[in-house]
């Protein structure tokens, strides 16, 4: 075999050998003839006759010694190349449309792969890693407390390893220059669980770091941090970094391929979870309180154990724990999920949009294939003569099919190559998928082996889809029939049917894509128009990290007062307030278990009510109307009687009498008095229904680890307002890092980005689908007009008017489009259930959108038919009759 393959490529050398050998043969023969008395010339002639045709022999020799199929393939390729060179227009259109289809699907696949399929790059056997999530009594997903994690880890034997991980923004550096680095707080088994080997140095171990709190100031750094900050110096191991004012010893460097345990995000430092209290300044409380549910938990399944087996064990263990620790865990449970279904991380909100986009890119690719199939088919029809002659000369039909498939494969490969040029920069736009906010996103979705394999498969599939029908069609025709048809100058009914079939499918697919896009755009508009209940215009915000500066609560309080005063003095500033939570931000909020005077909660009722801590003036600044009572004031401090403001829904739900002022509510072990009622606002999502919510004075509850956000309402432009925020923070205390300064509107937009990108990208894909379908229709109708020129001429001679002829053409197009729209609408109705969960305020079968798409497509189709129809109408009958 190897010899034969070599023979194909060493063709020249082997030919030369044979020529020499045959030459020797001829000489020997000739000498014999000379001996028999022939003249020199005569002898040569006789010798050559006796040997037979040297050229034929050489051909035959080639066939014998080489692989016929490979030889044929090379022939086919050469032939295809020549054809493409001869029709560059056809080739360019086919390659470009394929590049569009392949490039789009490859890009989206690279996103899907990064976010859903390959969430842990660099990790060995990632498919055995799962996420453990705690379940609240009402079925809500929750992070897990450290104590619960330890019990589950020690109790569940089917989970070989378990580790907590908690994303943290670490303030790294000395007092003069803090840098914010994203890291993860992890337990000792983390790196073992992920089966990673350090680039240099070592990782943590359970024995070392999991027991005592705040006793192991150790850090593992990421490869790129090592390169960018420590010049990849091996000596860095053993040196210290200042993290949140404490010295941490670098013990190891993670491998370059590893960027943390959350898909699409990039972390650069790992510290022991037992140091969490110190870094978040929460003290020892965090890790010893079961109510402090703050960690993600990763699990590696033991060998041979299935996810459902391990899940059953985790569940039963969690239920035991709920009984044993009923004071904190009553009714709670836990479960295991595959990483792509985990609720913490970008995959949670990307799953829906990415699935839709993947499907849409598949639809686009199908349209592209139909388009290219049409082009090939139309061309095959014009090449019918060539095929007929080849068949007549005895070429097997399989050879013709192979030739045509080789051509479409070549086009698809060229398309894939061009698509790659499209996909590489596009996958770099991965960041576009994610909100511009407080998450450390990966710069790009890598185009790795898996993505390339996907692309090649897609290209091969496209070649097969686009090439099969024309190939088979071209080869099944009867030779004599085809030759005759050619003479008549018409097109066969069969090829017209096939062309029509492709155009109809394209139209149907475009309808599906456009309806989905229309629904999502409409839904996005609905969401954007939802009233938030506050006024985000002209409000700028900045997050501060007081815990990085090791503030205690009292320190924090005086800092906030001072900073507020500074900001109020700035020109253009009309109001300043601060809180621990930004409404509609991507991060989740905090809740507290409440007990409300005069309200008896049923045993299963969830009394964990979300809240925020606010400073006086917050409601004024946000323009949230205070319906009853008063705002907090500066006297509501730690020494004063605890007070609370609730929203309307809180009153509606818990205080049926409606007399809420003066009512007492217990939380944090204290009794609060309700002093005000404010209007409902959107807290987490624009699409949420109203829910009970409450506010307490930040001065009464605040701890520095709770996060702190300053709000400024100002007439200054955002950029200068943010610069002022940063500068003044620096003036008040340079050791307090400021980050995530943005306008409130930008911050809210980030919460909508899932819907935004599905709407935007799907509109883009839908438009491309429409354009391609229109191109396909135009091509087919033009082609058919050209084919029917003769017939049109006859009709005109027999008295048909120009309008009759153009109506004929339009009618032909209308039939194709009509069937396509009908089929596409039916398909969309069938698929509507899949889309329904992603829509807000619009039904998945919204008649306006369905009709709108049908109308749009009809108009575009009419335009596509109009040009060929006009051409038909302007035919000169005399010319048309002569045309063949």
């Amino acid at each position: 075999m190897a010899g034969r393959i070599r023979a194909v490529f060493q063709s020249n050398e082997l030919d030369r050998d044979l020529r020499m050998e045959l030459e020797a043969h001829i000489q020997l023969l000739a000498e014999e003839h000379i001996r028999k008395g022939a003249s020199q010339e005569e002898a040569q002639r006789l010798a050559r006759i006796e040997l037979g045709g040297v050229e034929q022999l050489r051909e035959a020799h080639r066939d014998v010694r080489a692989l016929p199929w490979l030889d044929t393939l090379l022939q086919d390729l050469r032939f295809a190349f020549r054809l493409f060179r001869k029709s560059p227009g056809f080739t360019a259109i086919a390659v470009l449309t394929l590049a569009l289809g392949i490039g789009a699907s490859t890009t989206i696949f690279s996103w899907v792969r990064s976010v859903l399929l390959n969430p842990l790059p660099g990790v060995a056997n990632p498919e055995r890693v799962a996420a453990l999530e705690t379940l609240a009594p009402n079925g809500e997903w929750l992070p897990t407390s450290y104590l619960d994690f330890r019990d589950l880890r020690d109790g569940c034997k089917l989970s070989e390893k378990m580790s907590v991980t908690k994303p943290m923004d670490l303030a790294v550096g000395n007092e003069d220059s803090f840098e914010r680095v994203w890291g993860e707080a992890v337990s000792g088994d983390f790196f073992d669980l992920l089966q990673l080997k350090p680039e240099i140095g070592r990782f943590f171990s359970r024995e070392e770091v999991d027991h005592e709190q705040n006793a192991h100031p150790l850090v593992v750094i990421g490869h790129s941090y090592w390169a960018s900050h420590l010049h990849s110096d091996p000596q860095a191991i053993g040196t210290t970094l200042r993290i949140g004012r404490f010295p941490y010893t670098i013990i190891g460097v993670a491998p370059a391929t590893f960027s943390g345990s959350m898909a699409g995000l990039s972390f650069q430092m790992w510290v022991p979870a037992t140091m969490y209290g110190q870094l978040a300044s929460t003290g020892d409380q965090t890790l010893v309180d079961r109510k402090w549910r703050t960690f993600r938990v990763l699990v590696r399944l033991a060998a041979g154990v299935t996810l459902s087996e391990a899940r059953a064990e985790v569940q039963s263990h969690a239920i035991d724990m709920a009984l044993a620790d009923a004071d904190t865990n009553e009714g709670m449970s836990a479960t295991l999920l595959p990483l792509w279904k985990s609720h913490y991380g970008i995959q949670d909100f990307m799953l829906g949009p990415l699935s839709i986009l993947m499907a849409a890119s598949g639809v686009l690719l199908l349209i592209v294939c139909a388009n290219v199939a049409n082009l090939l088919l139309a061309r095959a029809t014009t090449r019918q003569k060539e095929f007929s002659i080849r068949l007549a000369l005895g070429a097997p039909r399989s050879r013709l099919i192979r030739q045509l498939l080789t051509e479409s494969l070549l086009i698809a490969l060229a398309g894939a190559l061009a698509g790659l040029f499209l996909a590489v920069p596009l996958s770099g736009s991965f960041g576009y998928l994610l909100p511009h906010s407080a998450i450390p996103t990966l710069a790009s979705a890598p185009i790795d082996g898996g993505v390339l394999l996907f692309m090649i498969s897609v290209a091969a599939l496209a070649a097969l889809l686009a090439g099969m029908a024309p190939a088979v069609h071209a080869s099944v025709g009867k030779v004599d029939e085809a030759l005759k048809e050619r003479v008549r100058g018409g097109t066969s009914a069969r090829s017209a049917r096939l062309l029509g079939f492709f155009v109809t499918s394209e139209m149907a697919l475009a309808v599906v894509a456009l309806i989905a896009a229309g629904l999502l755009v409409r839904s996005f508009r609905n969401v954007s128009e939802v009233r938030t209940g506050f006024d985000p215009d002209h409000v700028d915000i900045a997050r501060l990290d007081l815990s990085a500066a090791s503030y205690d609560a009292q320190h924090a309080d005086s800092y906030c007062l001072r900073f507020r005063e500074q900001l109020e003095r700035q020109p253009g500033v009309s109001a300043v307030a601060y809180t621990d939570y930004v409404p509609l931000s991507v991060s989740g909020g905090s809740w507290e278990d409440l007990q409300i005077q005069g309200y008896v909660a049923s045993p299963s009722e969830n009394m964990k009510i979300y809240r925020s801590l606010t400073a006086p003036g917050y409601f004024d600044l946000m323009k949230i109307p205070i319906l009853q009572g008063r705002d907090f004031n500066l006297h509501d401090d730690a020494s004063a009687q605890p007070v609370m403001i609730v929203n309307e829904e809180f009153v509606r739900h818990f205080i049926p009498t409606g007399i809420s002022l003066g009512r007492r509510v217990q939380g944090w072990g204290k009794w609060f008095t309700i002093v005000g009622v404010v209007q409902d606002t959107k807290v987490f999502r624009l699409t949420e229904p109203p829910a009970p919510y409450f506010y307490v004075p930040i001065r009464q509850i605040y701890r520095p680890e709770m996060g702190l956000v300053f709000f400024v309402r100002t007439t200054a432009p955002t950029d200068s307002a943010l610069a002022t925020l940063r500068r003044e923070a620096q003036n008040v205390d340079p050791s307090v890092p400021v980050f995530d300064a943005s306008s409130l509107n930008d911050s809210i937009a980030a919460s909508l980005f899932g819907q935004r990108i599905s709407a935007e990208l799907l509109s883009l894909l839908g438009s491309a689908a429409l354009l391609l379908a229109a191109m396909g229709l135009y091509g087919v109708i033009s082609y058919s007009v050209a084919q029917r020129t003769n017939e049109m001429g006859i009709r005109m001679v027999l008295g048909a008017q120009a309008t009759d002829v153009s109506r004929l053409v339009i009618r032909q197009g209308a039939k194709l489009v009509g069937i396509g729209i009908l089929l596409g609408t039916l398909a969309s109705l069938a698929l509507s259930r899949l889309l329904a969960s992603l829509l807000f305020g619009v039904s998945a079968t919204d008649p306006i959108i369905f009709l709108g798409v049908a109308l749009l497509l009809s108009l575009v189709a009419l335009a596509a038919c109009y040009i060929p129809a006009r051409r038909a109408a302007r035919l000169d009958p005399v010319v048309a009759l002569r045309y063949s």
């Binding site: 010899g3 020499m20 050998e21 043969h25 020997l28 023969l29 040997l51 022999l57 020799h61 014998v64």
Partner: protein
């Protein structure tokens, strides 16, 4: 159609192997001549086809080839039978004899009827 060439090809293969076995290394011309001689010119082989046969046998590794000098001092390619070729020859000879015996008997039978 296909069977017929198959048999003819096989026949020629057998003859070439037999020639190389009996005569030792030969060049293409020698082989062609030898076959003509043996068949007493009754089987006129197109001399060129010998080369097709040789390349086939080379691929099956039944014969080996090396460049040498012919009796008239020309560069020529000499073919010799390999171990595998010898085995093949024995086997093929048996097959052939069995086949020709059968066919011979068959023809005799029909001849006497």
């Amino acid at each position: 159609m296909e069977n017929k060439t198959e048999i003819l090809q096989g026949t020629l293969d057998l003859m070439v192997l037999q020639a190389l076995q009996a005569m030792g290394p030969l060049h293409g011309y020698g082989i062609a001549r030898r076959i003509e001689q043996l068949s007493e010119e009754s089987l006129k082989v197109n001399q060129g086809t010998v080369y097709l046969c040789l390349v086939r046998l080379l691929q099956k590794k039944w014969i080996k080839a090396e460049w040498g000098t012919s009796e008239n001092n020309r560069k020529a390619r000499f073919y010799s039978i390999s171990k595998a070729g010898q085995k093949q020859l024995v086997q093929e000879t048996e097959n052939w004899q069995r086949l020709s015996g059968t066919i011979g008997r068959l023809l005799q039978l029909s001849g006497t009827r």
